[in-house]
Amino acid sequence: INAFISFGGSSVLTRGHHPHGEFWPFSFREVGIKETWRLTNDALSISQTKADNEKHTHILNTLEEKNATGDQMACVQSNSATDAEVLTTALLAGPENMQNKIVAAFDIKKHRIYNIMP
């Protein structure tokens, strides 16, 4: 079967492919991000440090008791929806120099961190 399930565009599950192509061509609402992610039997999660109208980030590094900084968006593609959901938050919460190490501990297909331009 071919299926595309989206919770508001930030948690996505796909099976199969777009009826008229070989994959689901997932792209972003954000105009500045011009990539297309190819999804087949994948889960994908997106997190952002803060919402459009928020002044402060809502993502917290609880180990060091400090907020995530900057205005960034993390996107993770994986077979596992749980991994994708957890990692998008972890990549934004943790320090930048730990991102590769975090990702290496999981079996995921693709990840990106984007800086959101104001």
Binding site: F7, G9, H20, P25, S27, M73
Partner: protein
Amino acid sequence: MAITGSMATLAASPWVSAFAAAPQNGEGPNDRVRIAIIGTGSRGKQLMRLLFEIKADANIEIPALCDVYNPHLAEAVDMCIEQDIKVNSYSNYEDLLDKEKPDGVIIATPLHQHAHIAIDCMKSGIHVFCEKSMARTLEDTKAMYDAHQSTGQILQIGHQRLFNPVYLEGMQRIHDGKLGQLGQLRAFWHRNNDWRRPVPDDRPDLEEFINWRLYKEYSAGLLTELMSHQLQVANWALQKTPVSVTGTGSIVFWKDGREVNDNVALIYSYEDGTQFIYDSMTSNKKYGLEEQIMGHKGTIEFEVNRYYSETPPPAPGILQLLNDIESGFFKDAHIGGASWVPETAVTYQGEPIVKDTDFYDSALQLEGFVNYIRKGKAPEKLIREGYNASIWTLLGEKAIESGEKLELPEKFRI
């Protein structure tokens, strides 16, 4: 001033389709409908202004005015003079009926005067448009209805929402099942003022005469003057009348010698268990007025011309993906982004029920009245709506006074 709304709406509302399609008002004086006004206070003068606007198209003539209070009568006569309309003025309505023999009258007197004036008019062979509520007592309401039945004269009560395209279209959707099963209706009317009209300094004895809305002998206050409109809407939506009413009321803010409550809350129950929950108060205006019709598939807020689906449409990105799939396109789906569900829910604004709202329902109901006079009769549904709203409004007053849950006494069933 034209009736707007879809043709389906017009066809489904017999009292509108009767004249919306092809009004035949004629042009000559022989086709002219002569309408006199009895009661030229604030509402009477407002109805006169509307008559002035429709006068030419509807081919009507205003031969006479009547009011027992000379300052109001003089103002109304001046308004006619400004419009180059010659009117005869009377302080006694019986003289007006006798000398002018109008085709129809508009009665906009205080509530307690509606019944005997309307009955006398109908017995004299004159059609009646009477402001709401119908009458001050249950007995008078029934007597007016009986006079309409026995004389065959038109009796139209001023519930203008029956002619409002927003309500006509909305009711069509409700009756077609687009809102699903109605679970609850709610309405309210909140204002922040004392409702008083100025009494001349040298005539303190006119207090009850001018501020009749505040005294029980003449009015049931918020119930007859405001709630009756919204109760009519509830009955119209459900296509039934209630089986019982319970309520409570008090004077909490305006302790100025008035007798009517400034704060009321009532529940009208219908046969299938649906409730119409009502409240009105006059010391806060934040919430204004509204009728909220809640079905399991959708909601209507009539006063703001709004319809809400219980399943709001999907986001634009998903809609585009669906369109692409249906059209055979393989294109990027611009869906991804962090989403904030509470905001999404809050930003669903619903959609308007009727897009073109350039009309005025109080004028449309008068156009209707004139047209029915030409035909010699009005759809029975209209007087039934007025009667039921009046009877159940007054039962609501009795429920508040007695503290009991009341049902309809058989003698008032029609």
